[in-house]
Each structure stands twice: as structure tokens, then as C-alpha cells.
């Protein structure tokens, strides 16, 4: 009798465990749905002017914008035709800075520098020099930043901290939110990066974000790290979901990430002395699509 009770308890625990595992699988996010293998990707070497590519942004109509380090020039890339469509610049003369991220929403474009200064402007035509608004978020005293993405729900830009500055008092890496409506930092929306989960998943003591993208359907965040050659997925609240290591032969220095409305994952690698690259990974399953 006792034995049968124990067996029953064990069976119930077993069922609960299976159910729990199944539920984790269901809520596992989209990253696991992308086989980051060479035979599942299309890759291109980009023109020389994009050698220092530092960020990607995908528009609602599936166009791809990119920015390079040092000069505020925004490029539109036609990934289906394999060419540059247009380029427009900020200011006349073109402003210079350490540009590390680009975001887009509804005709509005934002650039961010490594010291968290945001430049906001309307999308320009080819060869145009556009006017811009400059906002110093004040976050530059805490962190060095890389990557930028617009989160529609909060009407805010998300800025992942790449490295905490000494004496800033910040306990660890975090993703900051900056409201595009009120032009101020949203403290309550700040998300601490789950360091331990990430470290365990990528088997590295550190994780230095270099690009960020949002899966529009789920609100999950995909963050790529150039130095660690890895990519992680967080849910909308910042909880760790999964991680993957990027194939080193294809990704020297992943600086930009974006997700197309049709589900393909885009990763841009800075070229340095070589040519920059753009890689497009197809989702393996339909539930990984981002429609």
C-alpha cells in the first residue's frame, strides 16, 4: 500500500515535471527556432563604405537601415537585390561621433552614441542632409552603450549597457529605457541583465551587448554580443530565455541585429580591415516567424 502511494506520488511528480518542461519549451522564445548554421543562411560582403557598420534597424515595411561608426550617415540596404539603395546624412557638415546603434519607427529614426547621446530625425532621401534633435540622456556616466531598438509598447528606446563605468554605482549590466515621448529615462523600465543565466548558457564570465532587436509579436529581446560571439533571448520583462553561440567563421564581430517582418534574422558584422558582412538566417519552424 505504502509502495503504491509512493509510486503514485512519483508518477504525479513525473507528470508535473514533463508538463513543466513542455511549458518551458512552448514559451522558449524564437531564438531556438533559428539554426545558426551556414547552410541555413545567406551572406553577403558589404560595400567598403559599410566596413565599420555598427547597427541595424528594420522598418515596418521590411526595409533595412544601417549606420556606421564615426560618421552620422544612414544607409538603406536592399538585402533582396544585394545593393545600397540610398544614404542620407545628419547635418551639414555631417556630424561625427561614436555611433553604436540605430532604431526606426514610423518614419522616425534614432541614432545613439556610445555615451548615450541620442539623435532623432526624420528619414531622408538619397543624398539628403537632414536636420536632427540631439538629446543627452545622461546615461553616459553609467555605461558605455552599444545597440538601440524602439519598443512600441512603451514608446521608448532601449539602450543595452555594454560595460559599466567605474564609480557609476551601477551594480551590473542593464538595459535602459528612454522615452521618445517625454525625452527622459524611464527608471521603472530599466532591466538588469540576468548575468548568471547568461554566463551559464554561453559559458563565459561576461557578456557585452553590441546590438539589440525586438521580436514584434512576443516582445522578446534578442541581444547579440560581438566579443563573446553569442546571442541571447530575453522575454519582454528581461528574463533569460535562451542563448546561442554564433558560428565564428561567419561572424567576426557582430554589431547589428534585426528581425524582418517575415521572420528572418539579420546579423551585421563589422569588417575592420576586411569587408563588413550581412547574414540572414531563416527560421526553421513557422512558429519562429515574427509575423
Amino acid at each position: 500500500m505504502i509502495l503504491s502511494r509512493r509510486a503514485l506520488t512519483l508518477f504525479v511528480f513525473l507528470l508535473a515535471g514533463i508538463a513543466s518542461a513542455a511549458s518551458q519549451e512552448r514559451s522558449g522564445g524564437i531564438l531556438q527556432g533559428y539554426p545558426l548554421s551556414a547552410d541555413n543562411s545567406q551572406q553577403w560582403k558589404l560595400p567598403d563604405k559599410l566596413n565599420e557598420i555598427s547597427g541595424l534597424a528594420v522598418t515596418e515595411d521590411a526595409r533595412l537601415l544601417a549606420v556606421t561608426d564615426e560618421v552620422a550617415i544612414v544607409y538603406e540596404l536592399d538585402y533582396s537585390g544585394g545593393r545600397l539603395v540610398k544614404a542620407f546624412a545628419l547635418g551639414d557638415p555631417v556630424i561625427r561621433g561614436d555611433f553604436e546603434g540605430i532604431a526606426y519607427f514610423d518614419g522616425r529614426v534614432w541614432l545613439v552614441t556610445s555615451d548615450a547621446v541620442i539623435y532623432a530625425f526624420e528619414e531622408g532621401q538619397d543624398g539628403e542632409r537632414v536636420a536632427f534633435d540631439r538629446h543627452d540622456t545622461g546615461l553616459g556616466r553609467f555605461c558605455e552603450f552599444e545597440g538601440l531598438v524602439y519598443r512600441r509598447q512603451d514608446e521608448a528606446l532601449l539602450l543595452p549597457c555594454k560595460g559599466v563605468k567605474r564609480g557609476s554605482g551601477l551594480g551590473g549590466l542593464a538595459i535602459f529605457a528612454w522615452s521618445t515621448a517625454s525625452n527622459e529615462v524611464l527608471e521603472e523600465k530599466r532591466m538588469a541583465l540576468p548575468d548568471r543565466d547568461i554566463a551559464a548558457a554561453i559559458r563565459s564570465g561576461r557578456f557585452s551587448p553590441s546590438g539589440i532587436a525586438i521580436a514584434e509579436q512576443s516582445g522578446n529581446l534578442l541581444i547579440v554580443a560581438a566579443r563573446e560571439r553569442s546571442i541571447i533571448e530575453l522575454d519582454a520583462a528581461g528574463n533569460f530565455l535562451s542563448a546561442k553561440v554564433l558560428p565564428p567563421a561567419s561572424h567576426r564581430q557582430a554589431e547589428g541585429i534585426g528581425i524582418l517582418p517575415t521572420g528572418e534574422l539579420l546579423i551585421a558584422d563589422e569588417g575592420g580591415a576586411h569587408k563588413a558582412r550581412l547574414a540572414m538566417y531563416r527560421p526553421a519552424r513557422c512558429d519562429a516567424c515574427n509575423r
Partner: protein, 216 residues
Amino acid sequence: MRKGENFLFPVTLITLYYAFWAAAMAFLLVRFPAIRDFFPVGGLGDLAARVGDTFEPVYPTVEETVLSPQGPLRLAFASVGAAVLIVPVSWVYFITSRSKEVDQSFVQTIVLMPIIVTGISMIVLNSLALAFSLAGIVAAVRFRFSLEQSSHAMYIFVAISIGLGAGIGSLGVAGVISMAFVYATLIIWKLEYGRSLSGPFFSVLTRRDRTEDDLE
């Protein structure tokens, strides 16, 4: 008429001819700007701009194979494989050579060539630009000697084919090329194919009389 005048006239005429057509074209472009699209001018600029702004496709599966840590080892095996497969080809050259003395430098060339081609195939990888550059270099340092017999060109082609096969990681294909060439050459050599048109088969084929020495 002096010689200077003779020269001056055609030069002037030709210059006027060019000037006339250049002026006519300029007039049309200014008067009717819409026809610019139909004029075949500015193509070089367009081409240069297009090349500068286009993406170059990458073949990541090839890259992952070659750039992997096993890449150099793979190249070493491919080179050895190419050398192994070219050796019978050189033997066939010895066997079928009509002269008593063979050209040593030629033999060494066909033995070494597949090894070099194997390495080049790996270097080129998937880069179109690199392939064109290498083609230019090869053209610049092209063979400075002339081939004594037309059949020697076949040996060069076989050596290149074996090298390419080994370089792209298809030693099997290179092996088939090597064997096909060796056996075909030996058979042709043994049969002395094409030496004479005498014999019942060729008589039927060519419809010639056996006693006929030559065609008129």
C-alpha cells in the same frame, strides 16, 4: 604636294568628323534631355557606381569548411591526393612518348601543377575578386615555353583538372579524371589509333578502296 600637307588633311578631316558628331550629340542632349536615357553614354560611371554599392555573395558552407581548424590539414591531404593521382599520368607520358628522351622539365611541371592548383583553389575560396586577381597574376606569369606536341596540352589540362578536383574537396572526381585519361591514353596508344586508315573497318567507314593510297 608636300608630305606635311598630306598628313594634315586626313587628321583635320577626322578631327572635324569627331567634332561634328560630338556637337550633334551635345545639341540633342541639351535640346531634348529625355533622350539621355537612350544614349549609350555614362556606362562606365554607372558600372563603377554599381560595383561600389553592390553586395558580394558569400558561400558560408565553403568558408566554414576551409576556415575551420581542419582546413590546413585538409589542404595537406588534398595536395597529397593530387600528387598521387598525377603520378600515373606522368607514367603514361613516359610510356607513350615517341622520343627516346623525355622532356624532364615538362614532366616535373605536370607533376607539380596539380599541387599548386589545389592550393590556389583553396586560396580563392568564394571570392570572385580574388579569382579575377589570380587569373591576372597567372596571365602575367604565363608559361614562357612552347609545347613541343599538341598532346602535351592534354597533360597540362589533366594536371589542372586534378588540382581543381582536389582543391574543391572532390578527390573522387579527380581520381576518375586521372584514371579516365590514363586508360584512354593507353588504349589509344596500344591501338595506335589514327595512324593508318588501312583495315576493313576504316575501309567501310571511309568508303575508300584498300589500294587507294591517298585522296586527290
